[in-house]
């Protein structure tokens, strides 16, 4: 079905909480095309510097399983100028901290730092991320750490169940593969294969830099032109991950060490680029499963008392978003839980939600979003991620888009996408 991407007609605004419009970010471009996006938060105690790159696990070739995430670990092992651990020591000695995260689509590296040290931290971060040393000895040691990370996640049966859900629901797509990688593949990787991945993915047309915090008096553009970031070249090869196709299905899996059963379901929703549709999906999943008065929580936890918890999470992704449902219950009632999830969906299909329910969802989503804008780290994250993927809206825009959704439109355009017939359903039960 077709979903319009951006509304063209201006509808009247209903007042949103705390209705002062959010500030406009400043966007600049380096000569090689790398985007720099900044938002001044004069009240914040620290600056967040956030480097984003289109180098998540979905960009790995078959033999490269786990390499995107492994590289993220190796970056912190130093560059030619920075010995291993020196970056962390310097940042933390200034009262800051740093971290990184690898997703399916992208990876980002961020530093929180007092303003006086921001220019230096930026220089160090770019050196580290764009010119990592990838030394053989460090590589072997860090592989052990990654294998421990994998073992730790495999000891959490809930994580095993989710991984299995994605593997079965997305059999022909990178989203079905573990970000941490397959054990055998990890054991085969070499520093050379990592160098090739880094050189291929960390390119001028594939990264951006976001800053948020007390930025007054900080002019970074000149510094950046003459930095590893400013010297990056554009890509020579462009093969993007394919669109996500979700395979509907209905499986049962017995898992050792599970204490409660899990009903897991996955649906495919429009990709991140379809921002209007993503906002609609956010509203509908909130209406259905956030808070005691949401449809699924009220029915399954509060009234029928079949579940310990039920969640419906929207994962916004570039190849196609995923909505994941998790219900925690006793194994004996898992089929009833599944039937009730279907019934809730059918009821919504037959009788669109009340306007008050949609307004409740709007408030929850809007406040969640505004609460998320308090800290420099989350602001930089939001700006960096959207800039990386060419979405140059301001921070206010998602709040405005919500006003274009009402009950009728949610019923017509989003609810059909959550049809249980189109889901992949996995019942994980204790072995």
């Amino acid at each position: 079905m077709q979903i319009t991407t951006q509304p063209v007609t201006a509808l009247p605004h209903s007042p949103s909480p705390a209705a002062s419009p959010l500030p406009e970010p400043l966007r600049q471009q380096l000569s090689n095309g790398v985007e720099l996006v900044q938002l001044d938060l004069p009240q914040a105690p620290v600056i967040c510097i956030d480097f984003w790159c289109r180098a998540g696990s979905a960009w790995e070739r078959p033999a490269e399983s786990g390499l995107a995430h492994f590289l993220e670990h190796m970056v912190f092992k130093g560059s030619n100028q920075l010995p291993a651990g020196e970056f962390d020591r310097q940042v933390e000695a200034l009262g800051g901290n740093s971290n990184a995260a690898t997703g399916f689509d992208d990876v980002h590296y961020h530093v929180l730092i007092p303003p006086a040290a921001a220019a230096k931290a930026l220089e160090l971060l770019l050196d580290l991320v764009l010119q990592p040393r990838l030394d053989g000895g460090d590589f072997a040691m860090e592989r052990q750490v990654v294998l421990e990370e994998l073992a730790q996640s495999e000891d959490q049966p809930e994580e095993v169940a989710f991984q299995e859900l994605l593997r079965r629901a997305c059999p022909d797509h990178a989203y079905g593969l573990p970000i941490l990688g397959r054990r055998e593949a990890l054991e085969d990787h070499t520093p050379d294969s990592m160098v090739r991945f880094h050189q291929r993915q960390y390119r001028a047309d594939r990264c951006c830099l976001a800053l948020a915090g007390p930025l007054a008096g900080l002019d970074l553009l000149a510094q950046l032109e003459d930095s590893p970031l400013g010297r990056l070249q554009a890509s020579t090869e462009t093969t993007a991950p394919s669109g996500l196709v979700l395979q509907p299905g209905d499986h049962t899996l017995e898992l050792p060490r599970l204490e409660a059963a899990r009903l897991l379901m996955a649906w495919r929703l429009p990709a991140a680029a379809q921002q209007d549709a993503v906002v609609g999906a956010d509203l509908l999943t909130t209406l259905m499963a956030e808070g005691r008065r949401s449809r699924l929580v009220e029915r399954l936890r509060e009234q029928l008392r079949l579940v310990e918890s039920i969640d419906l999470d929207l994962n916004v992704l570039e190849s196609g978003s995923l909505v994941l449902l998790e219900a925690v219950c006793e194994a004996e009632v898992i089929e009833r839980v599944q039937a009730e999830v279907r019934r809730v969906w059918e009821e919504l299909s037959q009788h669109p939600a009340q306007e008050a329910e949609v307004e409740r969802a709007r408030r929850l989503v809007a406040n969640g979003y505004r609460f998320g804008l308090e800290a420099a780290g989350s602001v930089a994250g939001m700006l960096g991620n959207s800039s990386l993927w060419g979405r140059r809206h301001n921070l206010q825009a998602p709040l405005d888009w919500m006003q274009y959704w009402d009950s009728a439109r949610l019923s017509q355009e989003v609810l059909p996408l959550l049809n249980p017939e189109q889901a992949f359903c996995l019942r994980a039960v204790p072995a």
């Binding site: 651990g85 040691m141 420099a376």
Partner: protein, 426 residues
């Protein structure tokens, strides 16, 4: 900006201290009502009562049924949580400032006029029982549960706030009413941070509501540790062995607490921390390694935790024990102390980024009966500490740690062998 927002200290009729921390920025309000007496106040035979009561509080109060309360809070997109920790029960409200007039009156209704309906108690109790059961999936939880037993036995800190299954099953309305009638009687404090509405006291007093008689939390010695078995293990068919090595120490604000906090920073904060570098970077033994040292009114735990592949159990145990032993034998260097100090003050700044963080930190300090500027004075006092002070604190508080393991039998055997020969086991 200054770390401190504009601060006002007031008092509600009846005695509850009210702190207003005005912050510029987004029009958000965070309120934290801290009530002394959490899971450590559970009576014998009623372990889990404080948490059960906290959960039931938001299922109806004052004029609002459970549904009406949820409609009001969720309808305004706000967040309301009631949770019991060891030393206190915390009620947290977060909302858009313009909605505060509708929501702030709830805070006192929750504690003064909870509905405590049988049906809702039954639901909340069942959810807590299910959560207790599900937590056993997590090997860290299993190792931690055992360690807590070793460190606190059946004492006030000896159980998970969720309770103990057999006792939780028996908790009914009568038990909760007893607890509810005492809410706040050991002291309470309310902290608001963000953009605070005019006439906030009027909103909190609530027309026609009885006066809430409570005092500020006083400084008082909390529960003590009582070291039992030095070694325990839970067998589990996991890939990794989870190790937790810990001791009971001192309350927040005690004379050696600051030295211990600096050791925590040195050992466990950030990627340059000692445990991270020694165990992860130099030996590749773990992904997750760190220190758990929460602030407590009584003898706080100080715990190293690590999980490592079971085939490396011997090496992991030896290295972890050696790191602990090192604290007793070798003073940290001056450079290490400086780094720990930088992290200590950095943590303070990073922990004050949002209204909720600011309100939370102050509610904790005030709830412990400490002064409002306690954290700032700690930052000053920490400057005077020396490596010898830290070592002295380690020697007096960390000399006899307990070890708790969770993992496959073979790994446990290998780890136990290392433990038995180690000086720390003596």
């Amino acid at each position: 900006m200054p770390l401190h927002p504009q601060v006002e200290s007031r008092q509600l009729p009846g005695g509850c201290p009210l702190w207003l921390l005005h912050r510029p920025g987004p029009a958000i309000l965070s309120a934290k009502l801290w009530l002394r007496g959490g899971s450590s106040g559970d009576r014998p035979g009623e372990r889990g009562a404080a948490q059960l009561l906290a959960g039931v509080l938001s299922r109806g109060c004052g004029p609002h049924s459970g549904d009406a309360l949820a409609d009001l809070v969720e309808g305004l997109g706000a967040g309301l949580r009631c949770e019991a920790a060891e030393d206190g029960t915390l009620i947290s409200l977060k909302c858009a400032s313009e909605d505060a007039p509708q929501l702030l009156p709830l805070l006192r209704q929750l504690v003064q006029q909870p509905w405590l309906v049988d049906d809702q108690i039954a639901l909340e109790r069942q959810l807590n029982l299910q959560t207790l059961q599900r937590q056993k999936e997590d090997p860290f939880q299993l190792a931690h549960d055992k360690l807590r037993q070793q460190l606190y036995g059946d004492g006030p800190y000896g159980h998970d706030a969720l309770g103990v299954e057999q006792e939780l099953r028996t908790l009914d309305r009568a038990a909760l009413e007893r607890h509810a009638s005492r809410l706040g009687s050991d002291g309470a404090v309310l902290v608001l941070a963000g953009q605070i509405p005019m006439d906030v006291e009027g909103l909190l007093e609530g027309a026609g509501q009885p006066v809430w008689t409570v005092a500020a939390p006083q400084r008082r010695q909390g529960p003590a540790g009582c070291t039992g078995e030095r070694f325990t293990a839970s067998g589990d068919e996991t890939e990794q062995l989870v190790l937790m090595l810990g001791a009971t120490t001192v309350p927040l604000g005690a004379s050696q607490a600051l030295a211990l906090r600096l050791l925590h920073c040195h050992l466990g904060i950030g990627m340059s921390s000692r445990l991270f570098v020694a165990l992860r970077e130099e030996h590749g033994l773990a992904y997750d390694v760190g220190v758990h040292h929460p602030a407590r009114l009584g003898d706080a735990p100080f715990v190293f935790h690590l999980s490592s592949s079971s085939e490396r159990a011997e090496e992991a145990t030896r290295e972890l024990l050696n790191e602990w032993q090192r604290l007793l034998e070798v003073p940290i260097s001056v450079a290490e102390l400086e780094l720990a100090l930088a992290k200590f003050s950095g943590q303070e700044a990073l922990g004050r980024q949002t209204c909720s963080q600011v309100a939370d930190r102050h509610a904790l300090v005030l709830g412990h009966g400490l002064d409002f500027d306690f954290a700032d004075r700690c930052l000053e006092q920490a400057q005077a500490l020396t490596p010898t002070d830290l070592q002295t604190a380690a020697r007096s508080l960390l000399a006899r740690p307990c070890l708790s393991l969770c993992g496959p039998a073979r790994a446990i055997t290998a780890a136990e062998r290392v433990w038995q020969k180690h000086p720390l086991a003596g």
